[in-house]
Structures are given as structure tokens and as C-alpha cells.
């Protein structure tokens, strides 16, 4: 039966805001066509229909923050031919990884009246710290067209066409004047992975690092340049500590300015 041969797609959620899987549903023009080409075998945000694995492609959103989730990701890996992580939570631990720099017990007591009810790990970690990941798609949130590109690449057995250069390249291509050079606005574009289409600079704002570090980022040089614009050490620490705070280049650079 032709229907039975459609590749199976599963979408899984860990600690996250749901935004990255929502990007799939935000493909309003493509959604019905995509659903015609694949079987949506497990996607709770969109459907109550479920079929058993193994799944051809699993998209995983969110970070690992509980003992239970630490186990669950292994079961998903065993049931997935290809496992792709989507978004800053799944690829870098997300904004909830800010706990990694602090004492989680203190955090729990700030938010919850009865911390003994809360079961949580000391650190929020990316999926790749727990299982083998076939491809990481970054962004907070991911770019929905990149999601479609990655899906279609894996379903056709080719390499996804996702750039590994920085946001600066996108600015140059779009002909946007450098906000740092022309207006003195601190911008993380030089060390941040492309993928958003240089969104913030095109809105007269400095990049704030949604897509995390690009390949071989020169964070030290950027920090020096920001210092020249009057940015303090404390502000530098906070700039690197947002949605991709626990990605190694950003983590190390933030620690270098923490006194």
C-alpha cells in the first residue's frame, strides 16, 4: 500500500516553549503538501493520531532537565532512524540553562513555595549530551524554512543546505549598513550563526544571538570591540548569557568577563 510506505515523522518535546514545533504549523502554505508526502506519526501539538515507531525522522525540541526526561530521550533515539534537534533548547540547553551558572536549589525556592515537590536536574543540557544526534538545527526559534529544508534533505538522503557562517554575511548580502560601525550599536552578529536573515540589524537593532555561536567565532575580539563602545564587563556577561548561554564559545566568553 502506498500510504504505508510514506516516511514517518515524529515530533518530541522536552523543556521548551513549544515555539520551534509551532514553526512547523506556521508553514501554512506548505503544511498540507508536507502532510501528503509524509506520515505524521507522532506530533501531539497537531494530532491525536499516533502510530508506533520506528520513525524515519524524529524532530526533538527542548532540553533535558529532569531525571525522567534523561531516560525518555534514549527510548526516542532507539526508535528513530534519524534524530534532528531543533532550536536553542535542544541544541544548547536553552534559556533554562541559565540555572547551570547558579544553584538550582536557590532557583527552585525563588519560584516555588514548596521546593520539595519539584523534581529537577542541576543542569539543563542539550540532547547531544545524552544521545547521538544526526543534525542540529539552531535558532530561538528555528527558521521554519530551514526546518522544511532539513526534513526534505533527510527524506531524500542528502545533506541539508544550512549555512555555518555568521550573521555578518547575511547583512552584507542584504545590503544592510553595519549597525556597529555606522551607528555604534553593540551587535553579536560577528560571532552568531546565520539563519534569521539578519533580522535585528534590518530593524535597526544589534543581533542578540538567537542562533548561537557560528563556526570558529572570535568572541574575544568582539568583546574588545564592545568594550570600545562603552559596554561594561557585567553587560558582556549578560549578552553572552541568553538563549544559548551554555553553548561552549558563549559560555567560555561569559566566564572570561565574570569577576
Amino acid at each position: 500500500m502506498a500510504a504505508a510506505q510514506k516516511p514517518k515523522l515524529a515530533v518530541w518535546k522536552f523543556a521548551s516553549c513549544d515555539g520551534c514545533q509551532l514553526s512547523l504549523l506556521d508553514c501554512e502554505d506548505e503544511l498540507l503538501a508536507v502532510a501528503g508526502a509524509i506520515e505524521i506519526a507522532n506530533f501531539p501539538e497537531a494530532s491525536r493520531a499516533v502510530s508506533k515507531g520506528p520513525y524515519d525522522v524524529s524532530l526533538v525540541e527542548g532540553s533535558i532537565t529532569t531525571p525522567h526526561d534523561e531516560e525518555r530521550i534514549h527510548a526516542i533515539r532507539r526508535n528513530s532512524k534519524v534524530l534532528v534537534t531543533i532550536g536553542a533548547c535542544a541544541t544548547a540547553g536553552g534559556i533554562q540553562a541559565l540555572r547551570n551558572f547558579k544553584d538550582v536549589a536557590e532557583f527552585t525556592s525563588i519560584v516555588y513555595a514548596k521546593p520539595e515537590y519539584i523534581e529537577t536536574l542541576n543542569k539543563s543540557t542539550p540532547i547531544k549530551d545524552h544521545v547521538f544526534v544526526d543534525f542540529e538545527l539552531r535558532g530561538c526559534p528555528v527558521n521554519k524554512y530551514q526546518v522544511v529544508e532539513v526534513l526534505s534533505a533527510f527524506l531524500h538522503g542528502r545533506k541539508p543546505n544550512i549555512p555555518n557562517y555568521g550573521v555578518c554575511m547575511e547583512c552584507k548580502r542584504k545590503g544592510i549598513a553595519c549597525v556597529m560601525v555606522a551607528s555604534g550599536v553593540p551587535c553579536m552578529g560577528p560571532v552568531t550563526l546565520a539563519g534569521c536573515g539578519a533580522l535585528c540589524p534590518s530593524y535597526a537593532r544589534g543581533c542578540f544571538g538567537c542562533f548561537g555561536p557560528k563556526d570558529t567565532p572570535n568572541t574575544a575580539a568582539l568583546s574588545t570591540a564592545w568594550g570600545g563602545l562603552g559596554v561594561s564587563e557585567a553587560e558582556l556577561v549578560r549578552a553572552y548569557r541568553t538563549f544559548n548561554a551554555y553553548a561552549e564559545p558563549f559560555r567560555k566568553e561569559s566566564e572570561a568577563h565574570e569577576h
Binding site: K13, F14, A15, S16, C17, D18, G19, C20, Q21, L22, S23, L25, D26, E28, D29, L31, L32, A35, I40, N42, P44, E45, A46, S47, R48, A49, V50, T65, T66, H68, G94, I95, Q96, L98, R99, K102, V104, E106, F107, I110, V111, Y112, A113, K114, Y117, T120, C140, P141, C196, L199, C200, Y203, A204, R205, F208, C210, E235, R238, T242, F243
Partner: protein, 429 residues
């Protein structure tokens, strides 16, 4: 005497974020817990020490479905702490952005999450095989909401253009005018949506709720107003914590909100509608009347109609804002809080979203409090389930399971993803 336990594991196959546990004795519910397992993320803790201007980008990440609501409530609270009120075209732009989020979120819930229940399909994709035109209409409505957010906010999820005091860049009159044709189509399609969803059949179920919503001054509430209730509450936002408290219960990672000395209350479209009907646009009022809602709505299963009426309003309001827009002289006004506390509350698609921040003399957050709509509705959801299950003990298992799922989805909770699967176990004890 018979004792029965009812266990509903939501999201059974992904060992999910939520579950329902019911203990019964003599056909009475003796214990009912809506358990939320969504892992804690500690936003209020790590906001401490952040600069005021970083807050809207951080709180947006609480929810990918309603990031604008988080940005709007935090901006309002921060500006309140700075003693600034954003008015004129900047406020209009914010309302337009908010309309975009309401349209996207309501269309998502009506067409993709809720309607398939009433028609007996697993999802929109299955529904599209039988109702292709309806499915396409739903997706186009949703897309127009996203187009507004993309233009005004920079992108659909976690917009980047929102700033304390206004925006980084204001769109031109021409850019906004580009939305007009789609908005006109959307207004008609939203009216058609009201007609469509009001033809569904609904379980007979009504309760007396205490509805709580903002009440705007002269306009249906989105971005500001006083907090009012159907039992006569009428307070300023800054007094919220005197009347509402959060409880931490063992079975849930979401804090439960209650009204002091009064218990459960109800926020969201049905509450806004009940308290602000006179402030809806004439077209939205007419759509509500023709759908039989003139006398109000106390059946949460019919909330899908109210949501559709709000969809009509959001298109109408967006169209008005686009037509009257004039480019502001500056995209933002200055607002810097120093050694002060600020309060904010706006109407997220799912109901009131309260924020409070205290700042030190450098504008760094000393402490923060955020109360999302879903935790405010949690107790009402539990009470709905309790009453529904007791009234329908004899119902067959699959049907009861489905109605329990729907009872939760009526509220469009942010765990709606988690409430799509229910596995029902009936255990005689």
C-alpha cells in the same frame, strides 16, 4: 458501596507533561488532580539581575504560542515602574501586533486544535480530506495573523522589534497598507468561521463561573484596563496580588491561582466576552448575536464560538488600526525604571497575564512575578472535569475520555499539546 478510580494519562505515548487522576466513591469524585509535568524553567529566578531592557526578550521565551503577550505585559510593567504611559501611534502599533497574535493563536486553536474534536477527526490534515476549503480557510486566517506579527514584530515567534517604550523600528504607512486586502478577506472569513463553529453540537454543560478580565476604557481589552469580575470586583492592576494568590500543590509544576476567600475563577475569551460585550465592534456583536450568544455563554464547550467572535473583532480592530496609522515621529519613547516597582497586565489569547517587577537604582531586576493564564484557569478546569464526570458516570469509556479531553481543550491551555491524547483506565477497587 462502590469505589472506583479513574486514571487518565494525558500524552500516554510520550509519557507526557500532564495527566488526570480521579478517585471516585459512590459515583462521587472524592479526589481530582490535573497534573502538569511540564518541567520547571525558573524564569522568575533568572530574571533577577537582568537589565530592564533585556526583560521583554527573555519573557517572550516562556511561550512560543503567545510571546507577544509576555512582551506586552512586561513592557507595560517596566514602563509603569518608569512612570511612562505609551500612547498614540506607538500604542496603536502594539495593539495591531497583539491583534496579530490573537488572530494566529485563535485560528490555530479553532481550526487545528479544537474543531477536529467536534467533527470527529484526529487533526486538521484528516479534516482537510473531507473539508478542504474549510482547512485552507483556517490556514489562511492563521497566516494573516502571522503576517501582521512578521511585519510589526520582525518574526512570528519571539518577535525582535518590541522594545521598552515602543519599537526599534516603526513600519511605514505603505507597508501596513499592504495588509489591508488580506484583513478585509479575513474579516469576512472570520464571520464565516463564527457561523461554521456555531453549527457544531455541544454537550449540555453550564456552570456559574466568576469571570475575570480586563475592562478597557472605550475599547475591547487587549493591552490595558482595570481588572473586573462578574461578581463585582473592580481593581487597578497594581492591586492584583491583594486579591489573587498562588498555591503550590504537589501534583502540578504549574502554580494554582485562586481568588482570596473565593476560590476558582475563569479567564480568557469567555470572561472577556462576558465582561466587555458592549465594547466589541458592531460587526463582532452582530456575529455573536447571530450565533445565539446574545444572552452570554456559560458553557465552556461553546468557547470555540466566543473565540471565533474575538477573531472577528481582531480583524476588525486590525483593519481600523491599519487605516488610521500615521508614522510616529520616533519609534519609541524613553523609559528607564530606577528603584521602583511596576505592574502590568494584558489579555493574552488565553486570558489575563500579570507581571510585576522591582528594580534597583541601576534598572536591574530585584525580583519578578509572572502569573500566566493557564495557571489561573487550572482550578476551573479541575472543577469542570469533576462536575462533568459525576454527571456522566454511565457514559461509555471512549466517549467520556473524549469529553474529558475536550473539557481541558476548551480552555486552550498552553499544555494543549499535552491534552491531545488521553488514555482512560477505569479501575474498580
Amino acid at each position: 458501596m462502590s469505589t472506583k478510580n479513574l486514571k487518565v494519562d494525558i500524552l500516554a505515548r510520550v509519557e507526557g507533561e500532564g495527566a488526570l487522576y480521579v478517585k471516585m466513591k459512590d459515583q462521587k469524585v472524592t479526589e481530582l488532580q490535573l497534573r502538569i509535568f511540564e518541567p520547571p524553567r525558573f524564569f522568575e529566578a533568572f530574571l533577577r539581575g537582568r537589565k530592564f531592557n533585556e526583560v521583554p526578550d527573555i519573557t517572550a521565551r516562556i511561550c512560543g504560542i503567545c510571546p507577544v503577550a509576555y512582551q506586552m505585559s512586561s513592557c507595560q510593567a517596566i514602563e509603569d515602574a518608569a512612570g511612562v504611559l505609551v500612547e498614540g501611534p506607538l500604542r496603536d502599533l502594539r495593539r495591531l501586533l497583539y491583534c496579530g497574535e490573537w488572530i494566529e493563536s485563535h485560528a490555530l486553536h479553532i481550526y487545528l486544535l479544537h474543531a477536529p474534536d467536534f467533527l470527529g477527526y484526529d487533526d486538521l490534515v484528516h479534516m482537510a480530506q473531507y473539508y478542504p476549503d474549510v482547512a485552507r480557510r483556517g490556514l489562511r486566517l492563521k497566516k494573516i495573523g502571522n503576517d501582521i506579527m512578521k511585519l510589526v514584530g520582525g518574526r512570528e515567534i519571539h518577535p525582535i522589534n518590541v522594545k521598552v517604550g515602543g519599537f526599534y523600528k516603526a513600519p511605514s504607512k505603505e507597508e501596513l497598507a499592504g495588509l489591508e486586502e488580506d484583513l478585509k478577506w479575513g474579516l469576512l472569513a472570520a464571520i464565516e468561521t463564527v457561523r461554521w463553529v456555531s453549527s457544531f453540537s455541544f454537550p449540555a454543560f453550564e456552570r456559574e463561573y466568576e469571570f475575570v478580565a480586563l475592562r478597557g476604557a472605550g475599547e475591547y481589552p487587549l493591552d490595558r484596563g482595570r481588572l473586573v469580575s462578574s461578581s463585582g470586583l473592580d481593581i487597578a492592576v497594581k492591586d492584583y496580588e491583594q486579591y489573587f494568590v498562588e498555591e503550590h500543590v504537589e501534583h502540578s509544576n504549574a502554580l494554582h491561582s485562586i481568588m482570596r476567600d473565593r476560590g476558582a475563577y475563569f479567564v480568557g475569551p469567555m470572561a472577556r466576552f462576558a465582561l466587555n460585550f458592549d465594547l466589541l465592534s458592531p460587526l463582532a456583536q452582530e456575529a455573536a448575536r447571530s450565533a445565539g450568544l446574545a444572552g452570554g455563554c456559560k458553557n465552556p464547550y461553546r468557547s470555540i464560538i466566543v473565540r471565533a467572535v474575538e477573531l472577528v473583532y481582531a480583524f476588525d480592530e486590525a483593519l481600523r488600526l491599519v487605516k488610521s496609522y500615521e508614522l510616529p515621529a520616533k519609534p519609541f519613547v524613553g523609559a528607564e525604571p530606577r528603584s521602583s516597582t511596576g505592574y502590568g497586565c494584558t489579555e493574552a489569547p488565553r486570558g489575563i497575564l500579570y507581571h510585576r517587577y522591582r528594580f534597583d537604582d541601576h534598572g536591574l531586576v530585584l525580583d519578578a512575578k509572572i502569573v500566566p493564564p493557564t495557571s489561573q484557569n487550572q482550578k476551573s478546569i479541575e472543577e469542570d472535569l469533576r462536575q462533568f464526570i459525576e454527571a456522566n458516570v454511565e457514559m461509555d469509556k471512549d466517549k467520556l475520555q473524549w469529553h474529558c479531553e475536550q473539557a481541558i481543550r476548551n480552555y486552550d491551555p498552553c499544555i494543549s499539546c499535552g491534552t491531545h491524547y488521553l488514555k482512560l483506565d477505569l479501575e474498580g477497587a
